[in-house]
Symmetry: C2
Subunit: 362 residues, 2 copies
């Protein structure tokens, strides 16, 4: 089948639908809200499918540019990110003025003041979740008391509305004792909420969990909302993280074998500009993606446009011109490299799908 040039990302809609139904079922079962992170697909079509599956109260975005695109799919947006420069704050305030209920996550009085100033200048209100560090140590205030202090600051600022708390338990992906780590996260959240309550502050929303912890959210009773992204497509990180199987990977890069001149290897026509250089987050010795048709093959080195594949373990050598499929280690930045992907709606039914929010840097 050579109806399209390679490399190209092919998305299997049937697998997408199954992945979306599973997550929607989970949140409905446990009375959680779902606010899917659109950074994974960056597509309005996919955002709308997420909303149509139910359980979703809005969408999550990482960037102001993504918010501008995703506002076409939902008026309820959560920017899980403290954008601080004035051009971006103006852009976000413009969205709020056009009717988007925009909520932002932040971890400093400085950021709160910047958002408040932009909100007041535009005559709008931003909802705010206070970002509490529960162990990933990337962003987030370090203690429940610091979260209280920032919550008070937010509540005192005209232009802001304190909506609740945000957690990012990214460290749980590699937890030795998951239940113990979950209990520690729950304790931090519960302590914070108790402090807020004593001070007359309410957290209507406690937003937690990305894909790796989505399905254990019922063990974090403080959490009211999750914002997973990767679950829609999955990738080798979620496969090797034991979160799904290869059959649950909806997005595969179609590639062509373009060289077999060097002994013991073949070269595929995708490299770091197709797959990204992201290593496998769970298996340090894994290659740069999984070759579906040759599971024993290992992508050992990437150039920008070449993937060198060690085929020593393969019973049969891939042939020149052969079309193969690679499941990337990390699907989110891979999708971001595409201007257009192929949506597979059936065995011979491929339609182009634009990635509207691709490459939105700011």
């Amino acid at each position: 089948m050579e109806t399209f040039a390679t490399p190209a990302l092919v998305i299997d809609l049937a697998v997408v639908e199954r992945n979306l139904a599973r997550m929607a079922g989970y949140v409905k079962q446990h009375g959680l809200s779902l606010r899917p992170h659109t950074k994974t697909h960056k597509s309005l079509f996919m955002a709308r499918r997420q909303l149509e599956h139910g359980g979703a109260t809005g969408l999550t975005v990482a960037k102001a540019g993504e918010a501008e695109v995703m506002a076409q799919a939902s008026p309820e947006l959560y920017l899980a990110y403290p954008a601080l420069d004035r051009p971006r704050l103006r852009k976000l305030a413009d969205l709020a003025r056009r009717g988007v209920n925009l909520r932002v996550g932040l971890d400093s009085a400085f950021a709160a003041d910047a958002f408040a100033e932009a909100a007041r200048a535009a005559g709008v209100t931003f909802g705010v979740l206070v970002d509490l560090d529960v162990g990933y140590h990337r962003t987030g205030v370090p203690t429940p008391h610091a979260a209280l202090e920032l919550a008070r600051h937010v509540a005192s600022r005209r232009g802001l509305r304190l909506d609740g708390l945000m957690l990012y338990p990214g460290h749980l992906m590699h937890a030795q004792d998951l239940d113990k780590e979950l209990a520690a996260v729950q304790a931090l959240a519960a302590e914070t909420l108790a402090l807020w309550k004593q001070s007359g502050l309410e957290a209507r929303v406690v937003s937690g969990g990305s894909t790796p912890t989505a399905f254990v959210t019922h063990k974090l009773p403080a959490v009211t909302e999750i914002r997973p992204g990767t679950y829609i497509y999955n990738d080798m990180n979620t496969v090797d993280g034991k979160l799904c199987g290869l059959d649950d990977c909806a997005a595969r890069v179609a590639v062509t074998v373009i060289s077999n001149a060097v002994a013991g290897k073949v070269v595929l026509d995708g490299g770091s500009k197709t797959f990204t250089s992201d290593r496998n987050a769970c298996r340090a010795d894994a290659g740069f993606g999984h070759v579906v048709e040759y599971p024993e093959a290992k992508i050992v080195r990437l150039s920008e446009e070449h993937a060198e594949v060690d085929i020593a373990g393969c019973a049969r050598a891939p042939q020149l011109g052969e079309r193969l499929h690679v499941i990337p280690n990390h699907i989110c930045p891979c999708v971001n490299l595409q201007e257009q992907v192929w949506l597979k709606r059936g065995p011979d039914d491929l339609v182009p799908l634009e990635i509207e929010a691709r490459a939105r840097l700011s």
Copy 2:
């Protein structure tokens, strides 16, 4: 200065001009042809500046989609890549039919036949360079005799014109004894050319060298043409490879400090979707790019939109909202993530520059 949102790539035109002049001067001094690889900048403006500096006989591209864009800047294109699927071959043949003198590099009779078939179907001719592996072991036929065999095959195929030989001495970037390694590359090329000559075959072009070896090409007398890419902007790989200084890095990502809530670090608003996850090719312990204003800082972890910076070594801590500049490890895939960059023509003279050939996967 907050005239534009961050993160954003800013290109200093004065540094670009200096870098281009240096390379043009080198090739003129040594009687070499220059065919700049446009994969680095993916910009028609930059391609035209490369041609205007002189010494350039055409442009190099990696993908058919890049060829389509760069044909607007030059009718002399070298596709250093064996595109093998029919949709791409048709696209390339279309370009040739529209007057582009398209030369391709390939390393198999299979690829030669595919190009020949596409050329004949379109009534055009493709020039061909036979790709000889001189030590990087990615693509390329393994020996001078194999290169002779493939050259004969190419010469016998209607639709193809044997133009010469292609080398990619990528392994020299890490050579222990560069002169010895250069001599080995020269010996392989010379042996190949001698074999061709004995068989009545001519190599009008011997294309070698990317940026790391560009300025030692005079030690490879067989080489007639070089195709460096990175030299136009440079990056931490060329700095740490001792090929240039920090002042020669024309492309820097402007970022904003968005969080300092976690002790000992700050967070910048660019991550793997801005810088890529590419590690430093010369210093394994280097971070994900160089923070210009805080040279002691180290970018220790990237998420998609966050750069976590260890500031333990900094005399002064970067402040929330502060605008900084990062020189990426590898500028080529970084540029590919941008739809538009800022061209700095003077201290207060910034204009948007479109990256026309960004994200051309195939």
